[in-house]
């Protein structure tokens, strides 16, 4: 039951919201827990039992970790290893279906355990409270990865202001439209290109651009929906994206892309290892560890490791050499540099098989333009691609802000959104439903 499924949109969400708002404030946390259990168990009984067992184990261990005993450090490390082992077991055992959201909820559990260990927070005494954090349907499948402290503070006072309910809903609706009308159609285009019998340089370039747009719009639309839902319930989630394709360096890009994951690695891996406040070689080593982990987190195939190494190399070069020199470049060239690096990187991100990667690169750089298939795909999808590019820029937000007090614009805005919402339902009914890309990470 993804956020973009009819089960969720037509049944789960309206019923859940109605019950939530009709329930007195102090019981709303319980409603969220019940809703989350229903939501999560819909993905399968095994998945549901697994997440409850993992949450329960972390809940118990967090209490023991804070007890004064000589074993508490060992216990802490064992807890971390337990979490990572479970994640690795499911991620690297190719024959098993990945339990929904495990890459995300395990990280939430780890962040909780570490926060308890470093005494940032006290261990939660109420199991149900902890379970609500661990299973919360807004973030359980694909993040944002959050700290226990921030979510728990919100859960203690679930009383959203009216304007937050409205704007949260708008955020959710816009995310839904973005996912179903733009990202999913980009996905269809990407698949058509990759399955084309007559590939060529421009076709594969178009494929890479399409993938870049799809990945961002798919994941950021999910984040919009999660953040919007949270806002409606009175839960404040951190932002996950900040116009990443407008970055002016790769270092900058990773500050704007999947921010909560980058922060997790920064906070729980990079900084504890000393970050950049160590010797030069140690710093490079720290970066290597973080990027290998980032690559491994995304998938169990070799290509993701290469992808991680690729960014390790580029970030290291930037930090020690390029960043200073790039400042003198006109901003156009900095953008161009970022786009080129990103597009090339997506080859390793989107194609799993090594031979296929080599083949793709060969064709991409063959500069053979005798085949004009790409013109057909470009023509068929011109409006889609333009809309997708527009959504990567700041223009839509700026424009809405500028016109938000204009009466005519407001009426048009309402009409367009309603039409788009009906169109979204039409698309889902037409069978174009496809799960979010990051579901598989």
């Amino acid at each position: 039951m993804g956020f973009n499924s009819l089960t969720f949109l037509i049944f789960f969400l309206p019923i859940f919201l109605a019950v939530f708002f009709l329930t007195p404030k102090k019981y709303r946390r319980l409603i969220i827990l019940i809703g989350s259990i229903l939501f999560y168990f819909n993905s399968g009984l095994f998945n549901g039992i697994l997440i409850i067992l993992i949450s329960f184990a972390n809940y118990l261990l967090s209490i023991f970790i804070t007890k004064d005993s000589k074993y508490k450090n060992i216990l802490f490390f064992l807890t971390i290893i337990l979490n990572i082992s479970i994640l690795c077991f499911f991620k690297y055992n190719g024959s098993l279906l990945l339990p929904l959201g495990i890459s995300f909820y395990i990280f939430n559990n780890i962040s909780y355990i570490v926060d308890v260990k470093i005494k940032k927070i006290l261990p939660e005494k109420n199991l149900l409270n902890y379970l609500t954090y661990s299973m919360l349907f807004c973030h359980v499948t694909m993040g944002p990865i959050t700290s226990y402290e921030s979510i728990n503070n919100n859960l203690n006072n679930l009383n959203p202001e009216l304007n937050n309910i409205y704007s949260g809903f708008m955020r959710f609706l816009n995310g839904l439209i973005k996912k179903v009308l733009i990202a999913d159609n980009l996905g269809l285009l990407y698949n058509a290109i990759m399955n084309s019998a007559h590939p060529s340089s421009p076709l594969y370039l178009l494929g890479l651009i399409t993938f870049a747009l799809q990945l961002y719009l798919d994941f950021s639309s999910y984040s919009d929906m999660a953040i919007g839902l949270g806002k409606m319930l009175g839960i404040n989630y951190p932002e996950n994206f900040d116009h990443p394709y407008l970055a002016e360096s790769i270092t900058d890009f990773w500050r704007r892309w999947h921010i909560t994951l980058s922060n997790f690695f920064k906070q729980y891996v990079y900084f504890p290892m000393g970050g950049s406040k160590v010797s030069k070689w140690r710093h490079v080593f720290n970066l290597l560890v973080v990027w290998l982990l980032t690559g491994m987190w995304h998938g169990n195939t070799l290509n993701f490791l290469i992808w991680g190494l690729y960014y390790f190399i580029i970030i290291t070069i930037e930090k020690y050499f390029l960043l200073e020199r790039m400042k003198k470049l006109p901003s156009f060239f900095r953008h161009l540099y970022v786009i080129v690096i990103l597009l090339f990187g997506y080859i390793f991100f989107s194609i799993k098989d090594f031979d296929d990667i080599i083949n793709f690169i060969k064709i991409l750089f063959s500069f053979d333009i005798s085949n004009t298939n790409f013109i057909f795909y470009l023509k068929e999808n011109l409006i889609l691609l333009l809309a997708a590019i527009l959504l990567c820029l700041r223009i839509p937000n700026k424009l809405t802000k500028l016109l938000e007090n204009n009466k005519v614009f407001s009426i048009i805005n309402i009409i367009i959104h309603i039409l788009l919402f009906i169109l979204v339902i039409a698309y889902i009914v037409s069978g174009s439903y496809s799960p979010f890309l990051y579901n598989s990470f």
Partner: protein, 356 residues
């Protein structure tokens, strides 16, 4: 103002949502979709999403809406069907990676036999001029490639004659279906007779009767909201036939099951859709000559012609027939063997590899 807009949108969307969920609950659940020509999913716990999807209120209107929207933003290729000029809905051609397997199968089968092969091009090749800007159509080179590799068979080319004839009347293929019309099948029949040195027949030798004026074919099921209604014409004559559905143990005197005229899937009226083995005896013929037709559904509208030249016509559909065709040929003293497939289905269903 912003807050008011958001509030109105929340309320409106909520109303639309409730409307759909109430409609979903109160509407009667069909088991079959006439427009889409397929069975709808049943309620199962692990399958709730596709159940809701299939039984969603106003489903076909919503799908039409989606298609109309896509066309309005410049799309011409939807759900593997091109929206062409003059109401043509033309399925795309899907290439195959298993050509060698098909070639080997036919080459092995036809060793020491007299086998004719007719690979029928699809509408996309013959009606390429009806397409707007489109991907290159490679069907002709595909057929030529297959023919160049099929060493032991007599390969009959029908591309040119279909093209020529289509230029005159534009009636070789349905606009809304992936099949050819009886006119297309007739051209192939003439081509076959020419090739076998049998006296040719003319269109005037038949009594052409329009049995349906509201046929909407498979392509129209794939893109709701765009189809025209078309005629189905039959070429009739007064032969006396015995049509035997061998495994079903049923016998009739007609090649047509006109009950299908009341259904969506009207092309199935030819030979009562697809069966493993059908034997047609032409009681008006005195000689004892016989033919085995190894075929897919394209041949169903070809059969009414070929039965005029053979005492016994055996029609084998490899999707359902599991036995050895070679043994069948030997034990029934068959004179001619014809493999008749349209290219797209030859590649996509791969039933031909069961040929032995």
């Amino acid at each position: 103002m912003k807050e008011v807009v958001n509030k109105i949108l929340l309320i409106l969307t909520f109303c639309i949502t409730i409307f759909f969920s109430v409609m979903f609950i109160v509407t009667k659940k069909e088991t079959f979709s006439y427009e889409e020509n397929r069975y709808l999913s049943n309620f199962e716990l692990g399958n709730i999403e596709s159940y809701i999807n299939d039984h969603f209120p106003f489903r076909s209107i919503l799908i039409s809406l989606k298609n109309k929207f896509e066309v309005s933003i410049g799309k011409t290729l939807i759900n593997d069907v091109y929206i062409g000029k003059e109401g043509y809905l033309i399925p795309t051609f899907t290439n195959s990676n298993n050509k060698d397997l098909i070639i080997d199968t036919i080459n092995n089968f036809s060793l020491n036999k007299n086998v004719d092969v007719m690979i029928i091009p699809d509408s996309i090749l013959i009606n390429e001029d009806k397409l707007y800007y489109h991907l290159p159509v490679s069907e002709e080179s595909e057929i030529n490639y297959l023919y160049s590799k099929l060493k032991n068979t007599n390969n009959i080319d029908v591309v040119n004659s279909l093209k020529l004839e289509n230029d005159k009347n534009n009636n070789m293929y349905f606009k809304s279906d992936h099949h050819w019309t009886t006119y297309g099948a007739f051209i192939a029949y003439q081509e076959y007779l020419k090739n076998k040195d049998i006296k040719s027949v003319l269109q005037d030798d038949f009594n052409i009767v329009t049995v349906s004026k509201n046929f909407k074919g498979t392509s129209s099921s794939k893109i709701l909201g765009f189809s025209l209604e078309e005629n189905i014409d039959l070429f009739l004559n007064d032969n006396s036939l015995t049509v035997e559905y061998v495994y079903e143990k049923q016998t009739t005197s007609s090649l047509y099951n006109l009950e299908y005229l009341n259904k969506k899937d009207k092309y199935s009226l030819f030979l009562d859709n697809n069966h493993a083995l059908i034997k047609v005896s032409n009681n008006s013929i005195n000689s004892n000559n016989s033919i085995v037709l190894i075929k897919n559904s394209y041949a169903n509208s070809f059969v009414p012609f070929i039965v005029n030249n053979y005492k016994y016509t055996y029609i084998i559909d490899l999707r359902y027939y599991g036995n050895s065709v070679s043994e069948f040929i030997n034990s029934n003293n068959i004179n001619d063997v014809l493999i008749l497939y349209n290219l797209n289905n030859l590649y996509s269903d791969m039933s031909i590899i069961k040929l032995k």
